[in-house]
Structures are given as C-alpha cells and as structure tokens.
C-alpha cells in the first residue's frame, strides 16, 4: 500500500511542531509525516479538516472536488478567495492551504468522485469523504475495506453534523493512568499518577452494515431520550439529499423546511425531533464546521498515529444542546 520509511525529524520540523510533539510525542509526529490523506468535498467542513491536518504535518493531502465555487461556500470556506467564484473548488483551495505548511505536499484533483476506482484510493492511508451520496460512501468504504485504507465520511448541514469511521481492524496504543501511593504510612495519603501504555485493537463494522440499523427499536428509542435525536436528524437530511439530489438551500429556506418536516413525519415521531432542529441546516456555518472539522481532523491524526481509542463509530454534533457525542451503531450490537 504505502511505504513506511521513518526518517528522523529535522531541527526545523522539531521547532515548528514543538507544541504538538509535547502532546503526542516524537514517534507519532514521525508517523504523521509518512501518511497520505484524501479529502473529497471542499466545502467549509472539508476546509476545516484540511487546515488542522495540514498544520499537524502530514506527508501529503489530496483535494478531490469537481464542483464549482458558489456564493454559499463563502459562509465557511476560508481557503477560497471571494474572487474565485465559478472556479473549481479543489484548485481554488490550493494557494491558501499550502501557505499553512509548505512542508506538506498538496494536490488538487478536479475529477468526479464517482469516476474514482480502486487504484485511485489505494494511494492513500486515510480517505475522508464529504458531501457524497450514501451509495458513493458505501462503494468507497467497500474498496477501503479491501485494502485496509482507513475510511471516514462526514457531513455538515448548517450547524448540525456527523462523522462516521470505518477503521476496519485498528490497533492502537492507549495510556492507562493509575494512582500510585507515594506517601509514607504515617503521612496523609498522597498519590502520583503512573502511566502505563497498553496495546488494544478494535474491529469496525462496514458502513453498509450500519445502514440496516433499526433506529425504531425500543432499545434505541430509549437511548435517544438521553442522547437526543441526532441520529434520526442525520437520516432525515440524508434522505433529503437522496430525494432532491442536493442539500437544503438558503434561497429555498421555507420550502425546504417544509420538505424536511414532511420527511421527519414519515420517518419518526414528531415529538422526538422538535421543528427547531431544521432552522439551522442551511449551507455550512463557520463555527460549527470548525467544531466538527476539528473533531474529524483529530480522529484522522489519532488513526494515523495509532494512539488513543478512536470514536467508534458515529459521532454527532448537535447544535441544540451544544453536545458532541459518540454513538455506536452496529447491527451486531
């Protein structure tokens, strides 16, 4: 798949990455520098993910997008100058993205995601897909499973968003902190944290297998009373995308809200998902893109460095509650 040569960091890299090396260590920084990432879909969310991983210092990042820059992108796509309306979105990102870190190789691919085959995806360690149909996401995840490429799908509608991870068989190191008593018997008990690193592994279900998950089951309905209805909100927005072949548009605000409410009523109990959930699902709002994009980028970094437990397997950001939480969606569960 991808060669795994680990070079020592240069003094220049050590200086630039000092504050993060102090967090995740020198070895993980070296692993980052050997990884190749694909980001498909360069709206605000794609830009936020790209920004954080480029700053972290990977080997290469490829932007894949056949769409043209539209006014709507300017709500959160800070890589694209406002003068670039109508240009290809992937290409329009390059200049500002490169300025963040000249040491990362950046490429823009203006092709269509649909036309990309197995050979294309094999060039990457991690693939992040945004703004794609469920069918496309499933196709790509299945290719990634064949070749042990780590797969992420993520989407942002207005202020609401989710991410999904299929890391297949994923091994990682985890630090377990225990408290060791260091005081003498007659003294007040005083402890000091002792860190042990252990190896763990997780096996992720495919995206396809999670699609048949029964969210109407009694068990999940009960669970949603605690976590909120984010999972179904995602399902409604995905259904809208399938039905309309687009996402809700600010220009069609009132009309699209009606359509979304109709989908909600057909899929679920209206009491479970208040109307207010559909007030902020238009375009991509910058602060929310930053929140979800920060989370996805951190998961990509975790995956590549094989450090700490990844989010298994869905993650939701619910702007109504300001809560970001992991939801395990697994038919075998």
């Amino acid at each position: 798949m991808v060669e795994n040569v680990i070079h020592e960091l240069t003094a220049e890299e050590a200086e630039l990455y000092d504050r993060q090396i102090r967090l995740w260590g020198l070895e993980n920084q070296k692993k980052l520098r050997n990884s190749k990432i694909l980001i498909a879909g360069l709206n605000g969310l794609g830009a936020e993910i790209a920004k954080n991983i480029i700053l972290a210092g990977l080997k290469s990042v490829t932007f894949l997008d056949s769409a043209k820059v539209s006014k709507l992108d300017f709500a959160s796509q800070f890589f694209i100058p406002t003068t670039e309306e109508g240009k290809n979105r992937a290409e329009a990102c390059l200049l500002r993205a490169q300025a963040l870190n000249p040491m990362v190789e950046l490429t823009a691919d203006t092709g269509d995601l649909k036309d990309k085959d197995e050979e294309f995806f094999k060039k990457f360690n991690v693939v992040v897909i945004t703004e794609a149909s469920i069918a496309e996401q499933t196709r790509i995840d299945n290719i990634c499973r064949e070749h042990n490429i780590k797969f992420f799908a993520a989407d942002m509608w207005g202020m609401f968003g989710f991410s999904f991870a299929d890391l297949q068989e994923h091994e990682f190191a985890e630090d377990i902190i225990k408290h060791k008593v260091i005081s003498k018997p007659h003294e007040k008990v005083k402890t000091e944290p002792v860190t042990h690193t252990t190896k763990r592994s997780l096996k992720f279900p495919s995206l396809e297998s999670t699609l048949s998950f029964d969210f109407k089951s009694q068990y999940f309905t009960k669970r949603m009373k605690k976590t909120g209805p984010a999972y179904i909100v995602m399902k409604i927005l995905q259904k809208f995308r399938e039905d309309e072949n687009r996402d809700p548009l600010p220009a069609h605000r009132d009309e699209d809200i009606k359509k979304l409410l109709a989908i909600r009523d057909s899929m679920s109990d209206a009491n479970l998902i208040p109307d207010i959930y559909f007030e902020h699902v238009f375009g991509q709002i910058s602060p929310s893109s930053a929140i979800l994009g920060g989370s996805v980028a951190q998961e990509v970094i975790k995956t590549v460095s094989q450090k700490d437990a990844p989010h298994y397997n869905y993650f939701f950001f619910d702007p109504q509650t300001a809560c970001g939480f992991i939801e395990r969606i697994d038919t075998a569960y």
């Binding site: 020592e8 003094a11 050590a14 630039l16 990455y17 000092d18 504050r19 102090r22 967090l23 020198l26 954080n52 700053l55 972290a56 006014k71 709507l72 300017f74 800070f78 300025a99 963040l100 870190n101 000249p102 207005g158 377990i176 902190i177 225990k178 408290h179 008593v181 003294e187 007040k188 008990v189 005083k190 402890t191 976590t227 548009l249 600010p250 220009a251 069609h252 605000r253 902020h280 238009f282 375009g283 709002i285 910058s286 602060p287 929310s288 930053a290 929140i291 920060g294 989370s295 980028a297 951190q298 700490d308 437990a309 989010h311 950001f317 300001a322 809560c323 970001g324 939480f325 992991i326």
Partner: protein
C-alpha cells in the same frame, strides 16, 4: 459570509450579527480561530488586541500566521489575513496590552460583547472586571492539549471569572529548593534561580546557597556549619553571588566547584538534614566516570537528538562550561546595570539550566531529564494543537450567537475532552448555568474580603505591589483606612510615596481595621478587613479569604495545618478549601508568562475515577469525595466544594492557550 446571504440564519439573528460590534482579546491559537469564524459568519465590525509577536512555535496552530510573519505583531497580521477571507469587514487591530489605561470601562462599553482568547490569569481577571463594570457580556475560553473550555460571564446570570478560587500556583518551600531537593523540578527551579543570581536580576527570594536557617537543620550541627562558614569565608562573599562570579571572571570550573562541591559539602555539615534522607554527593569539575569521546555529539550537534537524549555527566559538564562562557559574553555586551532575562528559547540560557539541573539532580541521586523535558518544566510550556483550538473557538462563536439572541439560558459552559465521559460525550455542555457566588469579592454588589496578614512584617509597598497588584490583579489602587480617613496608598504616586517603606502597623493598620480599596481604572471598589496573624518562617506572609462565613472554618483548618506541619514540613500547605486563598512566599515553580486557568469539570472526574476504580489496584484517595459528584450537580456550591477538595494535580484540567 453567512449573514450577507438571506436564508442561512433566521432573520433576527442575521440582523444582529450584521449590526453588532465585537472585541476579541488575544490573537493566539483561539483568537485566530475566533476571528476566522466571525468574518466568515458575517460580523461586520470587529476589534482585536494582542501584545504579542509571532514565534515559529505558534505556526502549528495559529493559522492566520505563516513563516514570513515571524516577529510581526499578532493582532496586525491576524487582521490582514482575516480581511482576505472577507474583505467586507471593518477590523481594527491593536498591538498593545489590554492593561493599558487607553482601554478603560468606556472603551469596553463600545462593544456588544467581548470574546476572550487569552493565555494568562492576570489578563483574564482584568477583562472580567472591565466587562462586569461595563455591563458587557464576556465569553471566556481556554485550551490545554486536548482539553478546552468555554463559558459565558454575564453579571447576575452566571459566575464571573473570579467567583470561585483558582488553584494557586504550586509553590515549593525555599529549604526544599536550597537544601533538600527530591524531584527533578526542585533542581530545575534551583537552576533557574542560579541563572538569575549569576546573570539576571537579583532577587532575595531566589537565593541558591545552602539555607542555614532551615528549621529542620537547627541544632548544633547547623550552628557549627554557620560558624565555620563565617570563619572560613566571611560574609562578604555571600552577599552577592554575581559579584563573586565576576571577580573570578565566570570561570566555569570555579563556578562549578562552588555550587556542586563546596556548597554541597556545606550542606552535608548540616547533619540533621540527612538523618532520614540520602545525603548528597559533592561533585568536582572534570570528575566523571565517562569516556570523553562519547560526548562529542552533544557538543557539536544541534536539534532533535541533542534535545531528546538524557545527557551524561560528562556532557552536562561540557555544556555547563560552554553555556557559562557564552552567557558571560552576552553579559559583557550589556550596560553596567543591565541583566540577562532567562528565556526558554535562548539556547545558552536553556543549556545552562538543563546542565545545572541535571548536575544537581545527580548530586542528590535524582534522575536526570532530557533538555526537551526540562524545557517543558522550566518554561511551563502548555502543549497546544490546532484541532482543540478550532473546536473551542467554534463554541465561543456559537455562544456569541446565543448571546445576541439573548438566549442566556442556553449558554452553559462547554468542556472539550480528550476521551469520552461515561455518557460517551466528547464535547460536554453543563446542565445548568452556574449562578454567581454571592460572596464573590469581584462581582458581588458590595465586594469584600478578609486579608490575614502579618502587620508587623508587611510594608505598605508590599501591600500594594505584592498583594493588590500581583495577587489581586488591580492596576492602580487607592487605599484608605476606613473610619480615620487616612490615605495609605494613592494612585497618584507622589502623594503617598513617604508611606511606602512603612510597616502596616506603623500606619495603624492592625487587627480589625477596615481598608477601602478603589481601583478607578477597573471601576472596582473593595472592602478589606485586616486580621493580624504572625507569620512563621516559610509561612505565607498573607492569606486572602474571600468569604466571610468561611473565617471560622478557616481558623479550624489553621489548627489542623499547624499539627500537620509538625508531622511533615516537606509539603506545601494548601489554604482553606472553601474561599479564595493564596500564598505568596517560598519559590514559584512556574513563573512564565504562560499562565494557567485551572478548571475542574465534575463529570470528567467521575469518568476518570470510574476508570481508575475499574482498573482495580490503586484507587485514588479522592475517590469517595468525588463519587458524590455522580449525583446530578444541582447546586453549584456543592460542585465547587468538591472542586476544591481534590488534591491530586492530575484531576485538574489546566486550560490554556499561548
């Protein structure tokens, strides 16, 4: 520019975004991210202030800055880059300190809201007071590593930044640093003090020589040592280490033998200290068991390997000699009265501290550390990454939307976590807004506090500089003795200069007196009740008690503390657990500009503790107390008591951003 296009937001929010005026304080990791979110969301009128300039180590997260901007003003470059994102915004940049008197209450009143993106407690306290007095909502935030936090500060609605005591900076007793170090950090603090004694500004609190007045050493041996000291060397040398070093032309060998051989022999003569401890082993320059040839790579190579490996004794000695020679050159270039200032990013200063700390560690049988690790501790470096700052700043601006809509009830504090809590949450909103502390010495209607102080030892100048300004973050206080109408301190310097050197007692400030303190600039009035207490050696010289009701309990704590002290003198004593308390004596471990905001999130503790107890063997002693927190934290006061009772550092989430 979401608000420029109809349909992104509901119309009322859209209008409010377009018509509001915001101040961002700080253009660092969080500040850059906030500014990006604001201009992309469609805010039209923004001002940003930051004192700092851009450093290479900022570039991994402060993404508005690039390599070519290193050395330039953060606020100015942040403005330039953000304007490229959205040219239709008015951004005013100030390369200035927020403490400057140009930014008074009327400056703050021009804004709809203030967003803090700061890295130190002093500035956070200051902006907190300015916003409370200007009656402007403030959104406070901070990050450290994977952790972050956002909270709303709105007078009468939520806690202000100073409602709850923050954990005091860790302070080590002087005798631990000077006589009986037992951990690497003790030797690192000592090495920084040694730097200042030799090349920096003299500070009486930073003496590095053996401490003959150590109460533990008292007894014949100590006296003998003292006698022999004055007999052999006399007292003159002791008065100025720097002068002595100059007299011997900063010869590395002489310096080395004094600090690591002669002084250690002297410590050994204080035999009481070594009854239960492993005695130190003096070391002379050039004495080591290692083969010289091995050290060449540290001497010549720079960068990663040199930083990461733990140096041998031979290497430490070599680096010591080189860094002393280089620092001597630096000093010679200065004017007569000028001094070097220790800086973690100065190669020689950092080499000096690394080698000295490691040599002293070896003398005291403490493990040595790499230059990389020592830099973290000596420079109090808080790790920082792009993603945590992006997430945290995202929450700041979402909170700003809610404040514009006056939905204060939805502005609960949000915590960003490294690992999920028991409910699988990574971004955790609090259930309720924590109401203000009615006894807060800042945001209460009539702020007051109790100051326990040794009125026979503290001067008026110390009251002003060390307590009111340094500890309580006032800018330019006036102090009046209540009832008598005597002005003790005037913000107009000349008026009361003659009082400065006087002891409080001489100014008739004694037990039971009431002081009226007024900081005109912060628009902050405070009533202080003085309680006299006699401070023993190494006791804090003063203690601030925020909550009057606490006084009784505080006194009983005092009793317990005294008993404890007899049992163990090695541990710094915490203040009363409820109510603000701080001490200012002894030696500060961390004294860098990268200050800390320390926050404890009850839920995170629950999750952590569960994990530990599931792990079995070593259960933290804090466990029981924290378990209580598993009950919903309905009342804030309960939450805060638990916060203060936790004593292992690991449970404190240190939030920051530089």
């Amino acid at each position: 520019m979401a608000a420029e296009i109809e349909g992104f937001f509901k119309n009322d929010l859209r209008d409010k975004i377009a018509s509001s005026k915001l101040l961002v304080v700080g253009a660092g990791g969080i500040g850059c991210e906030i500014l990006k979110n604001l201009v992309m969301s469609g805010f039209k009128d923004i001002e940003i202030i930051d004192l700092d300039t851009i450093d290479v180590s900022n570039l991994n997260r402060q993404f508005l800055f690039h390599k070519e901007h290193v050395g330039k003003a953060k606020a100015v470059v942040a403005r330039e880059t953000a304007l490229k994102f959205n040219p239709n915004v008015e951004i005013k940049a100030y390369h200035d300190s927020i403490f400057s008197t140009d930014y008074g209450v009327s400056f703050f009143q021009r804004f709809t809201m203030v967003l803090n993106a700061l890295d130190n407690r002093a500035a956070r306290n200051h902006v907190n007071r300015m916003c409370l007095n200007a009656k402007i909502p403030l959104i406070e935030s901070g990050t450290a590593g994977y952790n972050g936090q956002v909270e709303l500060i709105e007078r009468g609605v939520s806690q202000c930044y100073e409602c709850m005591p923050k954990a005091a900076q860790k302070v080590f007793p002087g005798c631990t640093i000077r006589n009986t170090p037992s951990e690497p950090i003790h030797c690192i603090v000592w090495a920084k003090h040694l730097f200042n004694q030799l090349f920096g500004e003299d500070n009486a609190d930073e003496d590095v020589s053996p401490d003959t007045a150590d109460p533990e050493a008292s007894g014949d041996a100590g006296k003998e040592a003292l006698d022999s000291e004055s007999n052999e060397k006399g007292n003159v040398e002791r008065t100025s280490t720097k002068q002595w070093a100059k007299n011997c032309d900063f010869m590395p060998e002489k310096l080395f033998n004094k600090f690591f051989n002669d002084d250690i022999n002297y410590l050994l003569s204080m035999s009481n200290l070594w009854k239960t401890r492993t005695p130190p082993k003096p070391m002379k320059f050039g004495e080591h068991d290692e083969i010289i040839a091995e050290m060449s790579d540290v001497a010549s190579s720079a960068g990663v390997v040199r930083d990461q490996k733990v140096w041998t004794i031979a290497e430490c000695q070599q680096v010591f000699a080189e860094s002393v020679n280089n620092l001597k050159e630096q000093v010679l270039k200065l004017n007569e009265d000028d001094n070097l200032v220790w800086d973690k990013d100065d190669k020689d200063a950092m080499d000096f501290v690394t080698s000295c700390a490691n040599i002293r560690s070896t003398v005291f049988a403490i493990p040595r550390k790499s230059r990389f690790d020592i830099k973290s501790m000596a420079g109090n470096i808080i790790p920082a990454i792009a993603s945590t700052n992006a997430i945290t700043a995202g929450f700041v601006v979402l909170h700003a939307f809610k404040v514009l809509e006056k939905k204060f009830d939805q502005c609960q504090s949000v915590y960003v976590r490294a690992q999920p809590n028991a409910r699988n949450q990574i971004f955790v909103p609090e259930k309720f807004i924590t109401p203000p502390n009615p006894n807060c010495y800042v945001c209460a209607a009539k702020p007051e506090l109790i100051l326990k102080i040794d009125t026979e030892k503290i001067t008026v100048k110390e009251l002003r500089d060390d307590i009111l300004i340094k500890e309580m973050h006032m800018v330019n206080p006036d102090v009046m003795l209540d009832g008598k109408g005597i002005i003790i301190i005037s913000s107009d310097d000349d008026e009361t200069e003659c009082n400065e050197a006087k002891l409080l007692k001489e100014m008739h400030i004694v037990d039971g007196c009431i002081l009226k303190v007024d900081d005109f600039f912060q628009n902050y009035e405070l009533t202080i009740t003085i309680i006299h207490k006699t401070a023993e050696r190494d006791d804090p010289k003063f203690e601030i008690v925020a909550d009057k009701d606490v006084l009784k309990t505080a006194e009983s704590v005092e009793e317990v503390k005294k008993q404890k002290k007899e049992e163990s003198t090695s541990q710094p004593q915490p203040g009363p657990s409820n109510g603000a308390s701080s001490s200012s004596n002894g030696t500060k471990a961390y004294e860098s500009d990268e200050d800390d905001l320390i926050i404890v999130e009850p839920q995170s503790l629950v999750a952590e503790k569960r994990k530990h107890s599931a792990g079995g063997e070593d259960e933290s002693p804090g466990c029981k107390r924290i378990r209580i927190e598993q009950e919903p934290t309905a009342s804030s006061s309960k939450g805060s008591t638990a916060m203060c009772s936790i004593d292992d550092d690991e449970d404190l989430i240190c939030i920051d951003d530089d």
